[in-house]
């Protein structure tokens, strides 16, 4: 992600007036089809894509590789976003927990973002929905928005998670550098109160200390360790296909 834009205070402030969606390229065939409609007609989908759309999903800008294709710098991006948002009258609505579709992918995204991961765990889909609803208001609260990645699953989906000892409730996890494994730092039963959840979220944030590493060094280290990610659909970005065979 482009930290020169998307991690800047004024852009983050402007983003609160938008629904912000970050899809994982090549991790859903359906989403890839939709993303291609925002990209150059007939061109292969590339690794990154950026666009601004209206509340009904109609593009307000052409798709670009990133915000740097559209804006000179973060202040200009923030000003443009504020201008666009001013044309819409926001309606208040209860927000759902932003759940990454699998725990495997959630761990990877958390490692990419250098954020802890919170997991909603139950054997029962209906209970997972109820547990997620209880966590949702905190996830969107001013203190925690954008600070934790969320996913959900059953006990059998926890094979990459070390230290999980419950089959129903909440797990708060520190991912490893590559997002291939995670370690539980706090866990709560399904009857946890909102203040229990808040304490566990705080523990997850304060106990996670990811390594700060250059992009190249991360890739070199990953290759030395034999770490490899298989995406759900084939990578079609020509630059990325070259990168997979390049020495780092």
């Amino acid at each position: 992600m482009d930290r020169r834009f998307l991690s800047q205070t004024d852009v983050i402030a402007a983003s609160r007036k938008f629904v912000c969606v970050r899809m994982m390229t090549y991790e859903s065939a359906t989403e890839a089809q939709f993303l291609k409609t925002l990209w150059r007609p007939g061109a292969e989908l590339e690794n990154t894509l950026f666009a601004v759309l209206d509340p009904y999903g109609q593009p307000l800008t052409q798709g670009a590789r990133g915000p740097d294709w559209m804006f000179r710098d973060a202040p200009q991006m923030a000003a443009s976003l504020n201008e666009i948002a001013s044309q819409y009258q926001e309606r208040v609505s209860r927000q759902s927990l932003p759940i990454v579709k699998t725990i495997r992918l959630g761990l990877n995204v958390a490692a990419c973002d250098k954020r802890p991961l919170a997991l909603v765990v139950s054997e029962n889909e209906q209970e997972r929905v109820a547990l997620a609803s209880k966590l949702a208001p905190l996830s969107w609260s001013r203190d925690y928005i954008g600070k934790i990645v969320y996913s959900a699953g059953a006990r059998r989906d926890l094979w990459e998670i070390r230290g999980a000892s419950l089959s129903s409730g909440y797990l708060f996890v520190s991912p490893n550098e590559f997002g291939t494994e995670g370690t539980v730092v706090a866990q709560l039963a399904a009857n946890a109160s909102p203040s229990d959840l808040q304490r566990a979220m705080q523990t997850a944030i304060s106990s996670y200390h990811p390594m700060q590493m250059e992009h190249r060094d991360h890739i070199r280290w990953g290759r030395e360790q034999g770490v490899h990610w298989e995406s759900e659909i084939p990578v079609s970005d020509p630059h990325e296909r070259q990168a997979q065979h390049m020495p780092f």
């Binding site: 969606v21 666009i84 208040v92 954020r115 928005i145 997979q244």
Partner: protein
Amino acid sequence: MNLRFLLSLMAAFYFCVAAIAADDGIGWIPTWQQALAEAKQTNKPILLVSGAPQCGGVPGVW
């Protein structure tokens, strides 16, 4: 100032620092389906980003 008081002061300071450790970030929704439903409900415009959670086949990096 006795040692116990000093230690509790240090612990309180550590807790305050730890409590605000993570920097602010954008609140991302990870799927188009959820984002579109939310945008329609709230009448908010959509900021869309897509990124591959791997580079050169190595995960843990955008």
